[in-house]
């Protein structure tokens, strides 16, 4: 099975906790990844994490894995991450560069 073809086939979010497929070239990709956690530091599964561009426009959304993990394939530049969950909401802004960008995203009830 050709993994890269399989990924390109659809548009739904893949399993967020799966390893990055070997076909993905990290020299070329800008990966934004991290863990959603609650105020007490526990990982939040099933959070809706969205990636907004520098103008605040929606770009993509994934659901965090059972370990709270999320991952985006973006481009270098300024991005905002926003999470909605039963445990509350949270956001942060980052400047991503080529390669893997790791962030921690905490959520709290308003």
């Amino acid at each position: 099975m050709n993994i890269s073809l399989d990924l390109a086939d659809g548009c739904g979010a893949p399993d967020q906790s799966a390893p990055i497929p070997a076909s993905v070239d990290l020299e070329k990709e800008t990966v934004i990844t991290g863990i959603v956690s609650s105020a007490d530091g526990a990982p939040v599964a099933g959070a809706y994490v969205r990636l907004l561009d520098s103008s605040g426009e929606f770009t993509a959304e994934v659901v965090s894995s059972p370990d709270g993990v999320f991952r985006f394939f973006a481009a270098p530049g300024s991005w905002t991450l926003r999470a909605l969950s039963r445990s509350g909401n949270g956001d942060l802004t980052l400047d991503a560069t080529r390669g893997v960008n790791e962030v921690a995203l905490s959520v709290a009830a308003v």
Partner: protein, 282 residues
């Protein structure tokens, strides 16, 4: 069509979980979410396994669609309520298939899985056992499906709505940012297309915005109400979401979904492409 006939709220859904003749169907490209818990009584349709032809590059035909719904125990007279993850993209895609094959009463659950989840409504892991039905799909209604030649002929003539993100529209990204970016086709958009990302039509919790807000968004973006409209995205599911807004909520006439979308158009030899944020000239 209107919001009242095409959409149901999560409250309505929760009150009608056991109503005879109402069938809830979860539709997704990745159905592991269903397996981990779904709306009680809902049956599963896997967008990739169940709704795509296994050989040709096309979705299921009339006979295949009839066989699928018969096997899932869905009848022509049932009220089908569709929902799913990814902000209802694949549920909206399925809604368009149901309309294309002439199902009389099909609705979308406003907000899909996300709203249901954020509201902390009940899930079940039980897979319902429905008796086999005898479903008869109608011949496809091609008044809601656009093919590539019609899309090329519509450049500068009809409304073309590109519902991808601004970076995909401009050619800076080739796929939504939750997917790897390597693709064979070229980036950019169809000349004269306006860019109204599907997400403009949805609230943060996945529900649709109000009729007034929706009419304002597409009006300000330059959608001409006197012309026909073709919506497209990358593989046709986000544009189903926008097709649903324009045709089923706002009630516009002559709205088509171009399900070939950018994976087809961006691979065609010789067709015009515009790079950057402007719509471009015909």
């Amino acid at each position: 069509m209107s919001r009242d006939t095409a959409l149901v709220s999560a409250d309505w859904a929760e009150k009608n979980l056991e109503t005879p003749g109402v069938v809830f169907v979860e539709v997704d490209e990745d159905t592991t979410a269903y397996d981990g818990g779904h709306i009680p009584g809902a049956v599963k349709i896997d967008w990739k396994q169940d709704l795509q032809d296994p050989v040709r590059r096309d979705f299921v035909n009339q006979a295949q669609f009839s066989a699928l719904l018969s096997e899932r125990g869905i009848s022509n007279d049932d009220t089908v309520v569709l929902y799913g993850g990814n902000n209802n993209w694949f549920a909206a895609y399925a809604y368009w298939y149901f309309k294309l094959y002439g199902h009389r009463d099909v609705k979308l659950l406003d907000g899909g899985r996300k709203k249901w989840e954020l509201d902390a409504r009940p899930y079940s892991k039980d897979v319902p056992q429905r008796a086999r039905a005898s479903y008869q799909a109608s011949a496809p209604d091609l008044s809601i499906r656009a093919f590539r030649d019609e899309v090329v002929a519509s450049i500068g003539v009809q409304n073309l709505v590109d519902v991808r993100s601004p970076d995909e529209f401009a050619g800076r990204l080739l796929a939504p940012a939750h997917l790897p970016q390597e693709q064979s086709q070229r980036g950019g958009h169809i000349p004269t297309a306006i860019n109204v990302p599907w997400s403009k039509a949805a609230n943060e919790d996945g529900t649709f915005k109000s009729d007034d807000e929706l009419a304002k968004i597409y009006g300000e973006a330059g959608l001409d109400g006197s012309k026909d409209t073709i919506a497209y995205c990358r593989i046709g599911e986000r544009s189903s979401h926008t097709w649903f807004v324009l045709k089923e909520i706002l009630g516009q006439q002559n709205v088509k979904n171009y399900d070939g979308s950018w994976t087809e158009y961006g691979s065609l030899i010789g067709v015009p492409i515009v790079l950057g944020d402007e719509s471009g000239e015909a």
